[in-house]
Amino acid sequence: MQSSKAATERRQRFDQYVGVYHQDMYRYAAWLSRDKAIAEDVVQESLLRAWKSLDALREESSAKQWLLTIVRRENARYFERKRLETVDIDNLTASQAALLAEQPNEELDDMRQAIYELDDDYREPLVLQVLMGYSTNEIAEQMELKQGAVLTRLHRARAKLKEHMARQ
């Protein structure tokens, strides 16, 4: 059992990270799962796991990457537990459809659908690069890939999105 002061400090440290990175955690989870309701569940589970393993985080500068790694693993666990089937774009649940109907903007709707339809292998590095600000080296570490593979996936992801938008 921790002393009261240590417990308070630990909780303050945790709240600080959550305050700064909650939005990143949610958006990453949403684009990994492609479902807003699942993203909220994944973030909740990730916060619990982060709370329990907070002492493993030694460097504050690594907090974002540490939290996103937890989100990634919790998302994988969630899908393993539920054994979810492949999403059919023509037959979405309400919370899947909510992801696509985020803002009333035709161009963004088209782009969001194109991103939604990308394979996970292409969508994830794109989210990490564009939204989270990761370098290709950092994406390679996060996804346990060679940097060359990351570059190829990013190149192909953009090529697919460009092609999709050109068709609209």
Partner: protein, 238 residues
């Protein structure tokens, strides 16, 4: 570097700044780069979902058995693009500066809150030659708050944000060394200018009329020039 190499690099990372020699001589690659940057701007906006309010789960009191160190720290390699380096520096500065009261975050100073805020929107700090539309600018900078003349620079980002409890227009213009953040804070009255400094970012909060304007850019950016430009082109409406 030839066209094929350059286009592969730019499609993998539109902020790629190598191949400058090739780019200056190849109009087709210049056009391709601009096209990819427009595409990335749309991708960024599409990915930036609204985030629902946080519902903090009930956190268990920790004992030896509940403490769980299963997540290993990833090793970091600091070879990131410049704009990410800026954001990372801001993270460190922000984490050192904030303190917590209750469940909300309260910052030691306006400068600390501004630094923390920039970390929330790292995608705003992109190098681009694409300006936002007048419609977008006008929706963020309400006419009863301020008028912003386009000659301030190429405005690449505009978002209404909350700083110190007030809605604040958050703009990004393209400086000579990279993106420059401008926060228009009509309700933040200061006695004098306040500096904001980080390892690779610096800035100032300037008192302007009954409010203030924060301007932040990379350390090598000539911010004094931009400050003069901002003071000439931004006018409070009240």
């Amino acid at each position: 570097m030839n066209c094929e190499d350059y286009r592969e690099a730019i499609a993998a990372d539109p902020s790629f700044d190598g191949g400058a020699g090739h780019l200056t001589e190849c109009a087709a690659c210049q056009a391709y780069r601009a096209e990819m940057q427009v595409l990335d701007e749309t991708i960024t906006r599409a990915l930036s979902l609204e985030v629902p309010d946080l519902h903090m789960p009930e956190l268990p009191e920790l004992t030896a058995s509940t403490s769980d160190n299963v997540v290993a720290l990833p090793k970091r390699k600091w070879v990131s693009p410049t704009w990410f380096a800026v954001a990372a520096t801001v993270v460190v500065a922000a984490l050192l500066g904030v303190r917590l009261i209750g469940t909300g975050i309260e910052h030691e100073s306006l400068a600390d809150e501004i630094l923390a805020h920039l970390d929330h929107e790292p995608y705003a700090l992109r190098v681009t030659d694409v300006a936002i539309t007048d419609e977008r600018l006008n929706s963020v900078v309400a006419a009863d708050v301020a008028q912003v003349d386009r000659s301030v620079g190429l405005i690449s980002y505009a978002q209404s944000c909350v700083i110190n409890g007030h809605d604040v227009p958050h703009l990004v213009i393209q400086g000579e060394r990279g993106p420059v953040t401008i926060l228009l804070m009509p309700e933040e009255m200061l006695d004098g200018p306040e500096s904001i400094r980080g390892d690779s970012i610096n800035g100032v909060i300037l008192p302007v009329g009954n409010g203030s304007i924060a301007i932040l850019g990379e350390s090598e950016e000539d911010l004094e020039k931009i400050e003069r430009q901002v003071l000439k082109t931004v006018v409070w409406s009240t």
